[in-house]
Subunit: 494 residues, 2 copies
């Protein structure tokens, strides 16, 4: 009876989520430029309705009553996940959320202008305001959830992830990468000395690149009857599981960046398209969290899409669509290109984790109050010199001002990126252990076994398990840096 009330509520919430997801995707792809103000008003009002519906005072009673009702296994799991969702939604007072939203929006808006002018001094007070509120938020979440403050922040993105488990794994990876990154660069230099890089530059119409992208999406498993590909300034995977909207942006002078972007978003899309449909209105039916989601995009982009076996199949497809004639030896140096740089989003597989670990370390210090915002440029620079041998001290725009996450108040989110990369490598290792002929299948364009493996163990599970439990059930072991390290050594170790 009470469970039924929660079930009905979930259907109303699903309708509002559907509207918000499609309106959001539409805004980035098809909305007229002048439609933004009204769209923002509509989405704010719909978000408010969602929040009012989802946090109505009677819901806590429904949850409590439902816990005494006779429920089947799915319903029990749904109720457990609904309670978790409800606790996370209601653990901050409404007036705090309003103050925090205002501070985040103001800091984000300032950030857009000030980053372009490399103006840390004007940015610092706004970020200090955000960090003060994040510390308050973390304390309140920690109190309700019985977790440490930083774990309570991570819990929003990856339920069950704890710094105590992640820190040693990241420490192992960091120790490896600080030595390995320079080695990989040396190996690359040696190869390029022997065989000069064939330039990617050419002339590729958007229509042809789009046709290629759609062909790749479909081959890799994207259901084109329940999703689409279009263009936006920032690539994303949005929409709803029955109609997944992925986007990319094209350069007409080279084809690789759009194609790799499409493969990345296709990885996200496969997860969404293959979530359990009967649970779609429950929190239980949603994707587990950011790290697992990133593991699915990186599985397709890195484990499959940068695998030489994949390119044995893919090159003829590329050549057919673009009237090209690439050899594996010519494309591979582009697909496996490594470079030290200041910017996280431009980094490769080898250096990316160092960008993330830097942020993971600094944001824990910030949340704990052991580091102040005023000292961030120096701390960032020190880490950057240590990990990548680069300085940002005179260039905060490409240092602590480079990402929108902190101005937007998202602390505890960065680790998900590298956890996703490690999880993808661990999933790949488990898949290959179960199916040693995976490379040969992929070289023939047969992705069915790789997809069935993920469908069974990850996609169909929705939010039934915590992030670490899902990984352990899927791969047979806890998160372990060795798989990702072995993957990097094999691909970049020479």
């Amino acid at each position: 009876m009470s469970f039924q009330k929660l079930d009905d509520l979930c259907r109303r919430l699903e309708a509002l989520e559907h509207a918000l997801a499609i309106l959001g995707a539409d805004e980035a792809t098809h909305m007229a430029v002048g439609g933004g103000e009204k769209r923002a008003e509509a989405m704010a009002a719909l978000s408010g309705m969602y929040h009012r519906h989802a946090t109505a005072p009677e819901i806590a009673d429904w949850i409590e009553a439902a816990e005494t009702e006779a429920l089947n296994e799915d319903q029990t799991a749904a109720l457990r996940e609904f309670r978790r969702h409800h606790t996370n939604l209601t653990c901050l007072p409404a007036d705090f959320v309003e103050r925090q939203t205002a501070a985040r929006l103001r800091c984000e808006q300032l950030w857009r202008g000030l980053r372009a002018r490399n103006d840390w001094t004007s940015f610092q007070p706004a970020l200090e305001g955000v960090v003060t509120l994040v510390r308050e938020e973390a304390a309140m979440r920690a109190d309700v959830l019985g977790l440490s403050p930083y774990d309570a922040l991570m819990e929003q993105y990856d339920p069950g992830n704890r710094a105590a488990d992640i820190t040693p794994v990241f420490a192992e990876l960091k120790a490896f990468l600080k030595d390995f990154a320079p080695q990989a660069l040396e190996v690359q230099a040696g190869r390029l000395a022997k065989r000069p890089l064939k330039p990617l530059s050419g002339s590729y119409s958007i229509e042809k690149q789009q046709a290629l992208g759609l062909a790749m999406m479909e081959a890799v498993g994207f259901d084109l009857t329940r999703g689409s590909l279009s263009v936006s300034h920032h690539p994303f995977c949005g929409g709803v599981p029955s109609d997944v909207r992925i986007t990319t942006r094209y350069r007409t002078t080279e084809f690789l960046s759009a194609l790799m972007g499409i493969l990345h978003e296709t990885g996200h899309a496969l997860y969404e398209q293959n979530l359990p449909q009967d649970w779609s209105h429950w929190p239980l039916g949603k994707a587990r969290g950011m790290a697992i989601h990133e593991s699915q995009s990186l599985f397709v982009e890195k484990q499959i899409g940068r695998n030489p076996a994949f390119w044995r199949w893919a090159l003829p497809v590329v050549d057919t669509h673009l009237d090209e004639n690439w050899s594996l030896d010519d494309i591979q140096p582009h697909v496996h290109h490594v470079a030290r740089g200041l910017i996280r989003v431009d980094a490769d597989e080898v250096t990316y984790p160092l960008h993330v670990i830097l942020r993971y370390e600094l944001e824990q210090e910030l949340v704990a109050g052991r580091l102040e915002v005023a000292d961030l440029p120096e701390a960032w620079d020190a880490h950057m010199r240590d990990y990548l041998g680069l300085s940002t001290i005179d260039n905060p725009a490409d240092g602590p001002m480079q990402d929108v996450h902190w101005p937007g108040g998202a602390f505890g989110y960065f680790p998900s990126y590298t956890l996703g990369a490690m999880m993808a490598a661990q999933q790949w290792a488990a898949l290959v252990r179960d199916h040693p002929d995976t490379d040969e299948a992929i070289a023939k364009g047969d992705f069915s076994t790789a997809n069935e493996w993920r469908r069974d163990r990850i996609w169909s599970q929705g939010s039934r398990w915590s992030t670490p439990a899902l990984m352990e059930r899927a791969t047979g072991e806890k998160l372990d840096a060795s798989h990702f390290i072995a993957h990097l050594q094999k691909r970049y170790g020479g």
Copy 2:
């Protein structure tokens, strides 16, 4: 205080309308085919939320209290229109609406299959069910509104329109057209005997036709920063005033049908884009109704878009985009083509009103109970033979089964189409009386005076006046068939 509550409510309703409008346009243009079921669920749930918000029991008290508050002129008008809107929304009991919705959906679904098989016998009982409920609906609406049953139905679409005013105007038009249609056909035959028709057939890419359409939309006044053109199976004008979505469909063998369709939808779009923005969340800020809306689409499509002056400017634009070389004498017979036919939506300016008047007469009989559904095929055939000299007795699919309106329960809507055509002619006559050089301006591609005239008198008025009052204020006189008759005589009278 109570007015403020209504104002806040209107903003919430506007957000839901925004979501429904964009989701609806998206469904027809960009949705993945497999997304339909979830989209339907989401839209049904959002419509339910809209209805619950808009009909909450406290609203009647708010309206009553607001009527005693000190309001400015706009607020007073907004409150009046809100009450009208609220009365129309709440005058039917919820269980009746549910029964009616089910009967309509079932009849519409049956209709899709049975029309294709020309199967009146199986269709008749479903339509009888719909008509029975429409009679009940009309009686309930009439009771609440103090109107006759048929007027109460029309009141939903065109507030203030009354059969007592429309019937004599339609009678005059019908009497004229029964003689004039054959004359127009004769004049056309004479012209074609002298100068044979240049075939429209050619090869026109969708890209080029779309670029032409966008150029025409913009020239005619469409704000491309607040709207867009895309493709759908059935052309429509949807979206929201800040982001108007118009669609067309293209044939690659001729360009005229898509272009005229675009001009028609642009007429609707100009009305939406130029509604008073400050009132956008109030019913007062919405377009007045179906007849006025149709007058705006037909103003652009027929009064402007089929005017030889327009083509003096437009032909070089067409030629530039499509690499064509049409003369005015060659295109005009296509733009002014007249033909007797069975199908309303395919009819031209001259014969279209006879299709509408036939339905107007029959649906009044049906609603009043003087005609039964079983006798509809004979009655339709008799009217069709009288008005257009065509029989449908063996072909109900192209007779009383040709339109979705009646299976969908929309009675009282058909007159709006021809009222719109007459209003457009009357508006054009008033414009030309005020600005005798309108043809010359349009021949130069200058639509500013024609647009300013409509902006002042129609678009900016929102729903401030009843349909007949708006027309009388805009044109200085009540609806009068003479303007439309004069228009047809001038254009088709030889």
